[in-house]
């Protein structure tokens, strides 16, 4: 697992209230196992997984290629007392799994707070986020309706998934969707200023340097 034989290192981060199942979700994703015990995360933790990503974007140069992606999935403590530590880690993540508990209305209400936390602390104003309602298997205890959650996700313009770490439903899909968003974002970021880095920048730098050289020649 720990060799450099991969094409991309993508760092994702799971966040949400305490007890919504971030750790079990990631455990299910990386190891495909379920641990029903509740062990509160101390501060931060991370898990890793190697996946193969097939580029399916319209860009002609990369379509159809497969890449080895090393996922570093940061797990954060939901507890308030770790907040300052966990939010500090938002900065280093490229995508976010924002989770709530479908059996807890409160955790759903807190999604807004988490969103604002993200806006303040993530690497950009509108990072790639996937909204995840976890514990979908506990249908009888459900407090948050799909419609409700979907509306909120639409409001933010992010995808929404109802997952279950216990059964594994939609877990992979949610992460892969996020990965896809991040990979697309990557292209956008680099291609947005077309030819700027090579041309514009280089030229300005050059003119900066020439006087310098003259100075030292004197």
């Amino acid at each position: 697992m720990t060799d450099g034989d991969y094409d991309y290192l993508i760092k994702l981060l799971a966040l949400g209230d305490s007890g919504v199942g971030k750790t079990t979700f990631l455990y299910r994703y990386t190891d495909n196992k379920f641990n029903p015990k509740f062990i509160t995360t101390v501060g931060i933790d991370f898990r890793e997984k190697r996946v193969v990503y097939t580029a399916a974007n319209p860009n002609a140069t990369t379509t159809g290629k497969t890449f080895k992606v090393h996922l570093q999935l940061w797990d954060t403590a939901g507890q308030e007392r770790f907040r300052s530590l966990t939010t500090a880690f938002f900065r280093d993540a490229m995508g976010f799994l924002l989770m709530f508990d479908l059996t807890s209305q409160q955790s759903f209400l807190n999604v807004r707070n988490w969103m604002s936390q993200l806006q303040a602390n993530a690497y950009c104003e509108n990072p790639d986020i996937v909204l995840i309602g976890n514990k979908a298997d506990l249908a009888d205890q459900r407090e948050v309706q799909e419609k409700q959650a979907k509306e909120l996700a639409d409001k933010y313009g992010i995808p929404y998934f109802e997952t279950s770490a216990a059964t594994g439903a939609e877990v992979d899909k949610a992460v892969i969707t996020l990965l896809d968003l991040v990979m697309k974002r990557m292209e956008q970021c680099v291609d947005k200023p077309p030819a700027d880095p090579a041309n514009g920048n280089g030229a300005t730098k050059l003119s900066d340097e020439q006087p310098n050289e003259k100075k030292c020649a004197c």
């Binding site: 990557m186 041309n199 280089g202 340097e209």
Partner: protein, 475 residues
């Protein structure tokens, strides 16, 4: 930055000891991953540099309009006349293009690719949002880990605090007249006391006491020893907080320096990417990057074949120097070269070992095995420096290039890294130990437009030398 440090420090102190250990454990794991990642990026950038070099072998000045900038094939006037790449504004033949409609030349495409794969895009985006951060490559985990290790270091082995600190903050600011009445050593002890206790979370109750004492202190401090003791403690803990801010970045830098021993050129040239490095972090990759721009001006060339393995039985690092090829002539006038390879462990320059000198060869074969006894865990943070020298007349040595091997990220278990591999020789930044300490401080951003490659390359190396000197003076 300073406020950041303080905040992060808080972040660890609010944890209980066990929790803190847990978190640090995670951070260490993260650090391992990051080391591997940095290694990967270094290799990637090196490959890119190779590609670029092959594309622009403009040794001869006849770099004209009518040849493809990448493969140097002549371009026709009508047929196969080439087109200008949007990335680098070079005229490129149809063979050296990637992509159909919105094509780029091979080099520009590779740059773009590296930007994706190295996560550079992310760092750039992040730097846009947090422009105040000095180090673009800084990761929170790393920072925390460094911060904490700095603190724990202090609490275990008290370093000698710089004297100015005491005079500046503890005494001058609050009670300048006290300077003589209190023995220096005593105050140092106090400082350390306060420091350690500060790290172990001085409780707020002390803060309360503090206020009282301060009011008392002006008129009768000599009378009560106990008061004085706690007084000095509070004062210094204040002062320590004062100096902690500004001094921490320096400590960071220091640790970074040792990370990148001997790789301080930092004359980075990032052609079409135009990304700006902030020195630090990627130091060693920078050195590889930088080599090429220096390469062409001083004609440093050649490769070194070497195998690294670790024998757990004898706790020895085994270095086998195979051979070298395409070395440049140490004595350019006489076209002679008597090369030998010197091995050295960085930081500390310990365990210097040399091969025999091969006479009159630019492709010498050594096949010499060196054993360096070192515990496995001590390899963390160590680098192996393999430099090639020409042994000239009258014991004059001419540097022919070097290769650096970060040992903490080295995959000793990997069969491919155990066997022989070729490593390109890089230009060394400057001589001797001067390299070691100033590594992190050399902040150079050298860019050039590739349309005028020749001129600016020279310029870049020139500038790097100059800047380095000025920097050193400043330090």
């Amino acid at each position: 930055m300073i406020t950041d440090c303080c905040r992060l420090k808080m972040d660890l102190t609010f944890l209980q000891t066990l929790e803190r250990e847990r978190v640090l454990e995670v951070l260490r794991r993260d650090q391992q991953l990051r080391t591997i990642e940095e290694d990967r990026i270094r290799r990637m950038k090196h490959d890119l540099q190779e590609l670029r070099r092959r594309g622009a072998k403009s040794f001869s000045r006849q770099y004209g309009e009518r040849t493809c900038a990448r493969c140097q094939r002549p371009l026709g006037k009508l047929w196969n006349s080439g087109a200008v790449c949007r990335g680098c504004s070079h005229r490129i033949c149809s063979r050296c293009r990637v992509g159909a409609e919105d094509w780029k030349c091979t080099v520009c495409h590779a740059y773009r690719d590296v930007k994706f794969r190295s996560g550079e895009w992310f760092l750039e985006e992040r730097a846009k949002k947090f422009p105040c951060t000095t180090d673009k490559y800084e990761m929170v985990g790393d920072k925390l880990l460094t911060t904490y290790s700095v603190f724990s270091h202090i609490s275990v082995v008290p370093p000698t605090p710089p004297p100015y600190l005491l005079s500046d903050y503890a005494f001058l600011s609050r009670h300048g007249d006290l300077k003589n009445s209190k023995p220096f050593t005593k105050s140092m002890e106090d400082l350390m006391d306060s420091f350690t206790s500060h790290i172990k979370k001085i409780s707020t109750s002390q803060n309360d006491v503090r206020g009282d004492l301060l009011s008392v202190d002006n008129d009768q401090r000599d009378s009560k020893l106990s008061t004085q003791k706690s007084l000095s403690e509070t004062d210094i803990s204040k002062s320590s907080r004062l100096f902690k801010g500004p001094s921490l970045p320096n400590l960071f830098k220091k640790s970074k320096d040792s990370d990148q021993e001997g790789s301080s050129t930092g004359a980075e040239e990032e052609t079409s990417c135009g990304s700006e490095y902030s020195g630090g972090k990627r130091g060693s990759s920078c050195s590889i990057l930088s080599t090429d721009c220096l390469l062409e001006s001083v004609s440093m060339d050649g490769e070194l074949e070497l195998a690294l393995s670790y024998s757990s039985d004898s706790s020895c690092l085994e270095i086998t120097v195979g051979c070298c090829r395409n070395l440049s002539h140490g004595d350019a006038k006489k076209k002679k070269c008597h090369p030998y390879v010197k091995l050295c462990m960085l930081p500390g320059k310990s365990g210097k070992m040399k091969t025999t000198v091969k006479k009159n060869m630019t492709n010498p074969v050594y096949n010499e095995v060196f054993k360096f006894p070192i515990e496995r865990h001590l390899l963390l943070g160590k680098r192996l420096q393999a430099s090639v020298w020409h042994s000239g007349t009258l014991r004059r040595k001419v540097f022919l290039g070097e290769a650096l091997f970060p040992l903490d990220g080295w995959r000793f278990e990997d069969k491919t890294s155990q066997s022989f591999n070729w490593y390109p020789l890089c230009h060394k930044a400057s001589e001797g130990s001067a390299v070691e300490r100033h590594g992190g401080e050399v902040l150079l951003r050298v860019k050039f437009s590739s349309s005028e490659q020749r001129e600016v390359m020279q310029l870049s190396s020139f500038k790097s030398l100059q800047e380095k000197d000025t920097r050193r003076q400043i330090i």
